[in-house]
């Protein structure tokens, strides 16, 4: 019997592994042999003008093989959740940043500002594993500031307390508040008593705490910055951190990806030199964060074939689209519409070993094999298709 750890996201993955499984490939719902499915998939990819390899909800080796396939058939490659990743990546590309990782936060951060109110939803064990344990280098308790849309949202009991301050605001206001903080820290005169509904005295207090803390950390989940031009808000945060480092230490903790997005972006970057949202249509990587946004390409109808990879979870099926779809996925995949071809594959960390990157973009963790199945790994299926391309 497989048992999961205590992470709710992890548990969900384990539950899905127990659902009714298939190990047989299908063409339009009809069972066919694995070899036929591979041949047919290669055929469709060879004939497609502008195929999109999307989803990428898989492990490092799955993405490695997807990259080789994209290069071989001139596809565009993107991850289903790259919208959030690119809110961070575009700032990194344009201005760089100062950031930190989970173990540093746990042991060193005397002041943690969590921007947004969904960090706990996206990273359920962040408080318990990172912020609650006793830090190695701090004598006084860690101060926590929750800055975000907490209006009407209940603050979880485990993070309430004397050392927690809540500053209620909207995600749209983060840029303005951060700009005000930067102005206060720079000693500039301000002509308003409040910014985005927050009183100047609260901002003065926050500025002073940031300045006097030994090692402050500003954490945000890019997913929650679902606002127009959110990269400009993130850039303000990044510049605030740079300002603070002139006299003390401060670091960002940009939390991005979900469903393997970070792993996908890392592999794409080291294998092509550029991040996701890259086209290989001309035989060389062309990266454009707007033009090659997979979701946009599907909506605009510019792509004529979708190869969807989703082996980590059964509830991330291909988006509903009119174009032919090849799904390489979880054996219990719940489809909205039957794809032209479905090739079931093993679940990384259950049916085969592999690697995934952690939320802080630095540490990658090994995944173990927990059961015997006859399901092939995503990487193997993609390599077989690449080998069959004409």
């Amino acid at each position: 019997m497989i048992k999961s750890g205590q992470c709710p996201l992890n548990s969900e993955g384990f539950n899905q592994a127990h659902w009714a499984n298939t190990s047989t490939s299908m063409i339009q719902g009809e069972q066919i042999s694995h070899a036929t499915a591979i041949g047919k998939a290669a055929d469709l990819l060879s004939k497609a003008e502008f195929p999109l390899i999307g989803g990428l909800v898989t492990d490092v080796n799955g993405v490695r093989s997807a990259m080789a396939l994209a290069d071989a058939c001139g596809a565009i490659i993107d991850h289903q959740d790259s919208q959030a990743i690119f809110r961070n990546t575009r700032v990194l590309q344009d201005s760089g940043w100062m950031t930190t990782t989970l173990t540093e936060v746990r042991n060193r951060a005397d002041l943690v500002v969590v921007i947004g109110s969904q960090v706990l939803d996206d990273h359920p064990r962040f408080f318990e594993r990172i912020l609650q344990p006793k830090p190695q280098f701090l004598k006084k308790p860690r101060q926590l500031i929750l800055l975000g849309p907490w209006d009407g949202r209940k603050i979880p009991t485990e993070i309430k307390g004397n050392n927690t301050t809540v500053i209620k605001t909207t995600m749209e206001s983060v840029a303005e508040l951060t700009a005000a903080l930067r102005a206060i820290l720079a000693g500039r005169p301000l002509d308003k008593n409040q910014f985005a509904g927050v009183n100047i005295s609260i901002l003065n207090d926050l500025a002073s705490r940031l300045k006097t803390s030994q090692y402050s950390v500003l954490a945000w989940s890019a997913k929650e910055f679902d606002t127009p031009h959110s990269e400009l808000a993130i850039e303000q945060l990044v510049e605030l951190i740079k300002d603070l480092n002139k006299t003390t230490r401060s670091s960002g903790l940009p939390l991005g990806g979900s469903n393997g997005g970070i792993s996908a972006n890392q592999v794409c970057t080291w294998q092509s030199g550029v991040p996701l949202r890259t086209s290989f249509a001309t035989g060389q990587p062309q990266h454009d964060a707007l033009l090659f946004d997979g979701q946009r390409l599907l909506e605009s109808g510019e792509t004529d074939l979708l190869l969807w990879i989703s082996s980590l979870r059964s509830d991330q099926p291909p988006p509903d689209t009119d174009i032919p779809t090849i799904a390489i996925g979880h054996p219990a995949m719940q489809f909205k519409r039957l794809p032209e071809i479905f090739i079931p594959v093993g679940i990384p960390g259950i049916d085969h070993t592999g690697h995934m990157f952690r939320m802080d973009n630095v540490v990658s963790l090994p995944l173990r094999k927990l059961r015997e199945t006859d399901l092939p790994a995503t990487a193997d299926v993609l390599s077989q298709i690449t080998a069959r391309l004409s």
Binding site: D71, T89, T103, Y215, R249, Q266, V274, Q284, T353
Partner: protein
């Protein structure tokens, strides 16, 4: 399959062979003794006086790991303007200073390099480094694990733990991260920066631990020696880039107390404070000190003019240098109570006084060092320049008139401040073969490569002699990797994959119990997940390990 390379001029300094015409025989990927007369030769290459050397070894090049991937992202603008078209053999890629892993492997092989070492592998990021290097085809690879700013070691030193326990920790780290050497970067300085110290000289305390860089260098160099690890402690000295830092470099040499150490990218650590601009060359003092102290080796980290990106574990110094970023964007990271990193793009300009003098200082070091077995040809890729500029650098060393032509173009004040004009030395082919083959193999303990005698791996590069030495080194006639022809006339012929070169010194397992307690208390990953097994290297990471021998552990 028996292959014969007939009539080449052999440069094999490991065996004292300097341009003698000899035949080489290859079977099953290895160089063998000449077989008996009647054995059938399957393939013969008639070399008729072509130049034959072992495959080149780059002992210090940043080709894989989290900081390299960050640099690629920061350099997206450059990658957009420098895409590489895929071919029947090659995957596509992009980038000049920070190329993708596949392009790096192809380009190294096309220049006759067959083994490369990533010098700054954070143990917490080792897995990613190994994955990236596994995706760097054509090359055997390896890494140096970074220690010296990790809180675990600093606490051990601060607590006054026994040297033997420190030796165990060092050996454990080499095993767990699958590395071949240990590197210390700005000893204790990356850690001190986390406590908001902005500089740390050799005898200054890390304020939290009360430990000095001298303590760290002494302890780690002793550990390496006592464990019998072949590669001496690889040191990136304190105060990188600061005028007057040559004194810290001399103090670091002193801290080793006569034990073997390797000082890396020493050009960045050979600066004086003389002259109107308070920036001068201290190459003469550094070269003199290294010439005199036989326990010390160095690689240069030559700068060459143009755009590049500097990638370093030394976030204390990278933070301080961010004001020189070109273009104006940069990254600094604190990482996992382990170390850190910083990425700062640079454009070195020949008309700039400081850049021009840096260029001259590197060349002075090359020309003043009297033992080519203890100086290595590096640009600290991509920090001084991308590795693709090695042929140009070799020409600067071998061709005095070319060097003087280049010198005529640099900032005139820098030219005045350098003794380069007066240095007549020209490196010989034999000396280049020492610096780029025989010596790196010897200093890393790689008995199977860097030479052309029986038992060596058949990693062999053949050059067609030309007047322009840069052109010769840019496009070898043939490159063999493990006995297979992989490059012909500078063009890739076959894709091969390499192995990861490691050492596995012994350690007392009680250190793991101590580490396990520490990890459970303070870290955010389990110790069992921190360690990388041989199976994981082979099956999931995709680069099986090849173990090199250590000497017997003595303490």
């Amino acid at each position: 399959m028996l292959i014969k390379l007939t009539g080449g001029k052999i440069y094999d300094p490991a065996h004292g062979i300097n341009g003698k015409v000899k035949n080489i025989f290859i079977r099953d990927g290895q160089i063998i003794q000449p077989p008996k007369d009647r054995v059938k030769i399957d393939k013969e290459y008639k070399l008729n006086g072509k130049i034959v050397m072992a495959g080149a070894i780059d002992m210090h090049t940043h080709i894989g790991g989290g900081k390299v991937n960050l640099a690629r992202t920061l350099m997206t603008h450059e990658h957009r303007t420098d895409p590489h078209q895929h071919t029947v053999l090659k995957r596509s890629g992009s980038g000049h200073a920070t190329p993708d892993t596949l392009s790096a492997g192809y380009r190294y092989a096309e220049m006759g390099y067959t083994t490369c070492f990533e010098p700054a592998m954070l143990p917490s990021n080792a897995r990613q480094s190994h994955m990236e290097m596994a995706d760097t085809p054509m090359l055997d690879t390896g890494g140096y694990a970074m220690l010296g700013s990790d809180d675990f070691l600093l606490k051990m030193l601060s607590d006054g733990d026994d040297q033997s326990a420190i030796n165990d920790y060092v050996a454990w780290t080499l095993n767990a991260s699958q590395c071949i050497g240990i590197k210390v970067v700005n000893p204790g300085g990356i850690n001190a920066f986390k406590f908001n110290q902005r500089s740390l000289d050799v005898d200054e305390n890390n304020q939290y631990y009360g430990v000095t860089p001298r303590d760290i260098v002494r302890s780690l160099s002793r550990a390496i020696q006592e464990l019998g690890v072949p590669h001496p402690l690889h040191i990136h000295c304190s105060n990188l880039g600061i005028p007057g830092n040559f004194e810290s470099t001399l103090a670091t040499m002193d801290a080793a107390e006569g034990r073997p150490i390797h000082l890396t990218h020493i050009q960045f650590h050979s600066y004086g404070t003389e002259g109107d601009r308070k920036f001068s060359s201290a190459a003469a003092q550094i070269a003199e000190a290294v010439n005199r102290q036989k326990n010390i080796s160095m690689d240069v980290g030559q700068i060459l003019f143009g755009q590049t990106a500097s990638i370093s574990g030394d976030n204390m110094r990278q933070y301080a240098n961010h004001q020189h970023a070109h273009p104006k964007k940069w990254i600094c990271m604190d990482i996992e109570c382990d170390a850190g990193c910083g990425v700062v793009p640079f454009r070195y300009r020949d008309k700039d006084f400081v850049n021009a003098l840096q260029w001259a200082i590197g060349l002075e070091l090359f020309l003043l060092a009297d033992d080519p077995w203890r100086i290595f040809l590096t640009t600290d890729h991509p920090n001084g320049a991308p590795f693709t500029s090695y042929p140009h650098l070799i020409r600067l060393l071998m061709d005095r008139s070319f060097r003087r032509d280049m010198l005529a173009h640099i900032n005139p004040l820098a030219k005045q401040h350098s003794i380069l004009e007066t240095l007549d030395r020209e490196y010989s082919l034999y000396e280049i073969a020492i610096m780029t083959r025989a010596a790196p193999a010897r200093i890393l303990g790689l008995k199977d490569r860097g030479h052309l005698a029986r038992g060596g791996t058949a990693d062999i590069t053949v050059y067609d002699p030309q007047d322009n030495i840069e052109a010769m080194f840019e496009k070898p006639l043939y490159v063999f990797k493990g006995g297979e022809l992989v490059v012909e006339k500078g063009q890739l012929k076959k894709i091969v994959r390499g192995k990861t070169q490691v050492v596995k010194p012994d350690y007392d397992n009680s250190i793991e119990k101590k580490l396990n307690r520490y990890f459970n208390r303070y870290h955010t990953m389990k110790l069992s997940n921190f360690k990388i097994s041989d199976d994981e290297m082979a099956e999931d990471i995709g680069s099986p390990v090849q173990v090199h021998a250590c000497k017997d552990r003595i303490a």
